[in-house]
């Protein structure tokens, strides 16, 4: 059975390490915050200028001056700090963020990432995604294994415009997990979702990966 959205987030949470500073993208990556092990200290960065993001507020306690990068209301923690957008991206670009977990439309076998625009559709902009993939120490992508029409998303090369070139370290899909030791190596299948077969993954992956 392929992993559900919640299970994907749980699997991605296993990439967290004690003491990490982490930036989570919008969508499934945001759910990873729900699965931080209680005995682990992980500090969440929000690129609109906050380190130490707390949970969503209780109803009636929303503060319009306190939002995350997805523009959702959130709360602060005793450890929270705030800073400007320039400081926030200096932190990101400067390699101080240990891990960023992001969604993707396509990932190439070289680890190129495309997640910001589809030609012919209204382009909304890349936001902070290009800065994150260029700056964070480790990039984990969480995505469906295939697009809605069944097309593989882990493919020889990205057809969509890139967010970053050779930036992805790990790909977690609803069917399997692929990892590589460095950004020059090939991805290797390291895990299958329960009851998903190697044949199914091979059939739905056009990228050259090691099995």
């Amino acid at each position: 059975m392929p992993w559900t959205r919640e299970q994907l987030a749980q699997r991605a949470a296993r990439e967290l390490r004690d003491g990490y500073y982490v930036n989570l993208g919008i969508g499934i990556p945001t759910l990873v915050a729900n699965y931080i092990p209680p005995d682990m200290k992980v500090v969440l960065q929000s690129e609109n200028g906050m380190l130490g993001m707390g949970p969503f507020p209780y109803e009636g306690e929303e503060d319009p001056d306190l939002i995350n990068a997805g523009k959702q209301t959130i709360t602060e923690l005793p450890t929270t700090s705030y800073f400007s957008s320039a400081d926030s991206f200096a932190m990101i670009r400067g390699g101080h963020i240990d891990l960023s977990i992001l969604g993707a439309m396509e990932v190439s076998e070289q680890g190129d990432l495309a997640n910001w625009m589809v030609p012919g559709k209204m382009v909304k902009g890349m936001g902070g995604a290009m800065d994150l993939v260029a700056g964070a120490k480790r990039i984990v992508v969480v995505m469906e294994h295939t697009a809605k029409d069944g097309t593989p998303k882990l493919k020889p090369r990205c057809e969509l415009p890139l967010t970053g070139s050779r930036v992805v370290d790990m790909v977690i899909t609803d069917l399997a997990v692929f990892a590589r030791t460095d950004r020059r190596s090939r991805f290797k299948l390291i895990e299958l979702a329960p009851d998903v077969t190697l044949d199914e993954v091979r059939a739905k992956t056009t990228a050259q990966v090691d099995y």
């Binding site: 507020p57 523009k71 959702q72 209204m122 800065d131």
Partner: protein, 238 residues
């Protein structure tokens, strides 16, 4: 008292005589968080047109910069993300509005550089993507960097939580965002604050924007402080 007062009675007065057609205007805020609501309304009411607006986002329909889109006062946006605005989409698809997308961190750093007198900087962000097209690149230790140039503006409109009559500003929580860098990068920075106080009331060690950057300051007449994505958790749930 030496020196003219920076304090203006309201947003309309603060923009009087300084805005004109065709200007480049920086506008603080992330989404609707920390936007200069009163100054945007006043800018709309001046009727100036053909503006180039540098702002991370473009507001939403009927709020923030969405108001200046409705009145067609904006010719071009320099932004990182504009996904929340239907009027924006309509004007863009009709070819009535130009957009220059910048990665968010590149946008912030271009503004910082502009305010700090730095011509440009080399960054990894966007290397190997459409953002790099037409830009000088440099390879150092196997890593490709692209040259991005500083940004400045005629006017910056910023919003802070508290400010004193000298123009010293303090922001609150994530409403800080682009406001402090933009305050440094315009020929004339106009600030609006929720609380205008006398000198000495702000802790000098905790000022985010020193008054040198602020030419005019007002206490905002009215704040809506809209929330785009109201998200809550249930009580009793961890």
């Amino acid at each position: 008292m030496a020196g003219a007062s920076k304090v203006y009675p309201n947003a309309k007065a603060a923009l009087d005589g300084i805005v004109a057609d065709g200007m480049t205007i920086m506008c603080g805020g992330f989404g609707l968080c920390g936007i200069p609501e009163n100054l945007i309304l006043a800018l709309r009411d001046t009727g100036v047109r053909n503006l180039t607006v540098i702002s991370n986002n473009a507001g939403v329909d009927g709020q923030g910069l969405g108001l200046l889109l409705e009145t067609r006062q904006i010719k071009k946006m320099i932004s990182s993300y504009v996904g929340e605005n239907r009027e924006f989409e309509r004007q863009f698809l009709a070819g009535e509005l130009e957009i220059e997308f910048n990665p968010q961190g590149t946008l912030a750093e271009r503004i910082r550089a502009g305010g700090a007198g730095i011509y440009g900087f080399y960054t990894k962000t966007g290397a190997g993507t459409v953002v790099a097209e037409g830009k000088e690149t440099r390879v150092v230790d196997g890593q490709t960097y692209i040259l991005e140039t500083g940004l400045t503006a005629d006017i910056a409109l910023v919003k802070a939580w508290k400010g004193d009559t000298e123009g010293n500003l303090v922001y609150r929580k994530t409403a800080r965002n682009f406001n402090p860098v933009m305050a440094t990068a315009a020929r004339i920075t106009v600030a609006e604050v929720e609380h205008l106080v006398e000198p000495g009331e702000l802790d000098p060690d905790c000022i985010h924007t020193p008054g040198i950057y602020v030419k005019r300051i007002i206490q905002g007449e009215r704040y809506v402080k809209a929330i785009e994505q109201r998200t809550v958790r249930k009580r009793g749930v961890a």
